[in-house]
């Protein structure tokens, strides 16, 4: 599948053969429309890029009324990535998407600051569980929760999210980083800090999936720096059930097809009938899903 924020709402991407995708995850969507952060919003770094887009999006009502009816026509499940500043925000966004034809599921982006608590939902196991539980109660749709890696106890947070009723976990969002424009003696991004993505984070994301896979039973979707079929296979071997492609979409619009074809070829070459079983450390069967 394609990762949130790297494919918009699916209408601008060029030449992407939707049949090469298992699912599409949309840009982070909030209760009200957001204009996003001031520029400069992106900067390239060694084998990666930093972004501080600021969740620019047209708001959940526009998405539900204008985009969702178009997705109905696609033979591709569309998962809406949702974000908020309070638990009520998240719940309201989920409620307005619940049961909409065209919306196949929800990915909960918990890398957003909670205005009341003053810290991100995703960095605190209790807050992460609270928001997962609240959204779980608001929707019957498949619920995937996306981990932020900028934490100390990733495994503890993943366990709390599983216990709170998530159907699956995507790991991981971007790593906080920064870049400084030496000539102008100021941070390259107007926001100062940004989220690092791309090949630079792949080993880190892989470790996150490896550790979480041994701690929870629900399926894990691996994301972070995947550019090739081999990268994707590493995540499957680490215990992921599926992968998301992010930054690579900017670089190679046909990446999803190349990765999928590469995985299929690998399975054929190695005589593996079921890629679901290739994890290096066998995973116990999922209880929900």
């Amino acid at each position: 599948m394609v990762a949130s924020g790297t494919f918009g709402y699916g209408f601008d991407a060029p030449q992407v053969d939707r049949s090469a995708l298992g699912a599409m995850v949309t840009k982070g969507t909030t209760r009200a429309a957001r204009t996003g952060n001031p520029p400069v919003r992106i900067a390239e770094t060694a084998s990666g890029m930093l972004n501080a887009i600021g969740l620019q999006n047209p708001g959940v009502d526009y998405v539900a009324q204008t985009y969702a009816p178009q997705w109905v026509e696609w033979d591709l499940p569309v998962i809406v990535n949702i974000a908020g500043e309070s638990i009520e925000d998240y719940v309201e966004v989920a409620r307005r998407l619940d049961g909409r034809p065209g919306v196949a599921g929800i990915e909960l982006n918990i890398s957003c600051p909670n205005v009341e608590a003053g810290l991100q939902f995703g960095v605190d196991a209790r807050l992460a569980a609270q928001v997962t539980e609240a959204v779980r109660a608001a929707t019957e749709m498949p619920l995937m929760v996306k981990l932020t890696p900028n934490v100390t106890d990733l495994v503890g947070i993943a366990r709390a999210i599983e216990a709170a009723g998530a159907d699956s976990i995507s790991a991981v969002n971007t790593y906080l980083g920064m870049s400084i424009d030496v000539a102008r003696r100021r941070p390259a991004l107007a926001n100062g800090l940004g989220g690092l993505s791309g090949p630079a984070i792949k080993p880190l994301a892989l470790r996150a999936v490896w550790e979480v896979a041994s701690a929870v039973e629900i399926p894990i979707v691996g994301v972070g720096g995947i550019f090739t079929a081999e990268d994707a296979l590493e995540f499957l071997l680490a215990g992921a059930a599926a992968v998301q492609l992010g930054t690579v979409n900017y670089v190679r619009p046909d990446a999803a097809r190349l990765v999928r074809d590469g995985i299929v070829a690998f399975a054929a070459d190695s005589g593996l009938p079921d890629l679901g079983d290739i994890a290096l450390r066998p995973r116990r069967k999922a209880v929900h899903v």
Binding site: T6, F11, I42, A43, Y250
Partner: protein
Amino acid sequence: MTVATLRRATVLERSAPMRTAVELVLHEPEAAVAAKPGQFFQLGVDAQHTLLRRPYSIAWANPDLGRIGFIFSVVGAGSAWLGAREAGQPVELLGPLGNGFATPGPDRTAVCIAGGLGIAAFVGLVKGRDRLGRRTVVLLGARSSDWLLPADRLRGAEVRVATDDGSAGHTGRVTALLPRALHDDVELFMCGPNEMLLAVVRSCRELGFPLERVQVALETPMGCGIGTCLGCALPARGGGYLLACQDGPCVTADRLDWDRMDGI
């Protein structure tokens, strides 16, 4: 919505139009037909540790010969890699992308004000107008004469030059040449560093020249080039942002919030 096409072009020729820039001539017949002045391509770069394509204005296109020209300076790893491409080697193109310049009416004079490599965006525009026998004035500013595109590349236009160090033309900022050039029949085009764009807008306001008649070719760091990453946002008048890659790169200057453009 931009319909972007990924294409494989071949380098026909590499040259140095001035000491500080490289001109790359690529062969890709369909792209050359589709390309309009003011639009851009995202050029694939295969340098070590780089990731994203690099956006470059179409300097000129020759649809009959299937050629597209790009003129750029080497500022980092991506431009260094592109500037080292040799005849026969492939370069990947995504595009043409974005909105080009709106064509002024036949009785209008086009005044193109460019800072440094901003001139690249105007080479094809000048050529096209020359062919139609329309009047064009180019106000070209640069640090020094080393950075000036030779006037014979702007045939048919009246070229007036300013350099910071006085090594050619007027000594000082190119915006000093504006008051004499802005008449009632003028459509103004600008491309260059942000500081220059801001200075031009200030001059236009002082001279009472409406920003609706100023077209700007925007340059800002880009990720995707096609509207999906939201990385190329610039402040829009009335609030929010527009996307340089999708709403631009060519927009009329009244669509931007120049107070918030300051300092970007």
